[in-house]
Assembly symmetry: C2
Homo-oligomer: 205 residues x 2
């Protein structure tokens, strides 16, 4: 079964109807997940958007058999199964060099923004040639942070240890031809990954 | 005092240290607010980002004398005063043609996405020539929905009548040279604007 190496990424193209099972094999590991429609539209990609999903569904997360939407509010990935406690974050940006600098770490600390960039750099799809330029300038889609637990207490947010156990998985079905990027979050300066980033696995069904 | 016409928009350039006072003159009117740094970076604009703000501050909204951040996590607008009940939404995407179609209305219904586009089309700043192309392809920054009330109940979100009263205002100070776009939200199919979109006012200080 393919690995998402600790602190690194994996990228997988899906045809309509194919599903991807993302497995938290060690338990307590966040996977920042992104999806882009294929082919990319000429000026700007069509991408899975947390803000369009929640403001259309009027909830933070789709339920089982409901879909995440893209920035045109069309379904892109449907949750078909989830054996974890169902706690996934849609409020936090991907970790980036600026974030690690602010936390007193080095800007070259591994980060999910760089993982997304490196993944798409490997992706040999001509219609994506423009996307890297946007990422270089600081654009990022809001990630679906699988297994990440963010507690809401009034207006305050707190990132806590994940509740997912070793072997928990979520399965997402493609509603559009798309590419899915999974970044095994390298954050080791907060409770986000239980303090110790680990690898994960995935499977195409 | 300049008007933000009902269902339409206003655009204002700010120098560092200048403030903009956005006044809900009728009460209960949502103002979708966007800010972009000037000049724009070559490949992609630097913009006020709700997701970077909340995941850096660990709260939905900055407090008084705290700043909204841009997509590089640098301060762009600071809240210096707020006479409203302090309820502003940062979770909902701007209304767009796709949203009105889904609600059974016409795709040509006035919408905040179009207002942002039309505002930036009027804006005579050469470094912004690329931004319109991204907006045409469906990209939008997450707006700061001033005076909009979204109730969080577990994982469910509900858009309710605003609690702002006639004359309530919020003042935002520029931390970067920037342009601020204010869209008087034309949503008339939900409780968002109390059912009846109205005009608003603003003042540069």
């Amino acid at each position: 079964m393919p690995i998402i190496p600790a602190r690194r990424f994996a990228i997988q193209r899906l045809r309509v109807g194919q599903s991807i099972k993302v497995i938290d094999s060690a338990g307590g590991q966040v996977i920042d997940t992104f999806a882009f429609s294929i082919p990319s539209t000429p000026a700007f990609p069509r991408y899975m958007s947390m803000t369009h999903t929640r403001s259309t569904l009027h909830k933070f997360l789709p339920s089982i058999n409901e879909s995440f939407l893209d920035n045109r509010r069309d379904p892109i990935l449907t949750i078909v199964e989830d054996t974890s406690p169902g706690i996934h974050d849609v409020l936090y940006a991907a970790c980036s060099p600026e974030r690690y600098l602010q936390l007193g770490a080095d800007k070259d600390h591994d980060n999910c923004a760089k993982n997304l960039y490196n993944a798409l750099q490997q992706f040999r799809e001509p219609s994506f040639s423009h996307v890297l330029k946007f990422l270089e300038s600081g654009w990022m889609p809001d990630p679906l942070n699988l297994f990440m637990k963010v507690n809401i207490n009034g207006s305050d947010l707190q990132c806590l240890n994940p509740e997912s156990k070793a072997g928990d998985f979520i399965t997402l079905k493609a509603e559009q031809e798309c590419v899915v990027i999974m970044s095994a979050c390298p954050m080791d300066l907060s409770a986000c990954n239980g303090g110790e980033p680990s690898s994960a696995k995935f499977e195409v069904i």
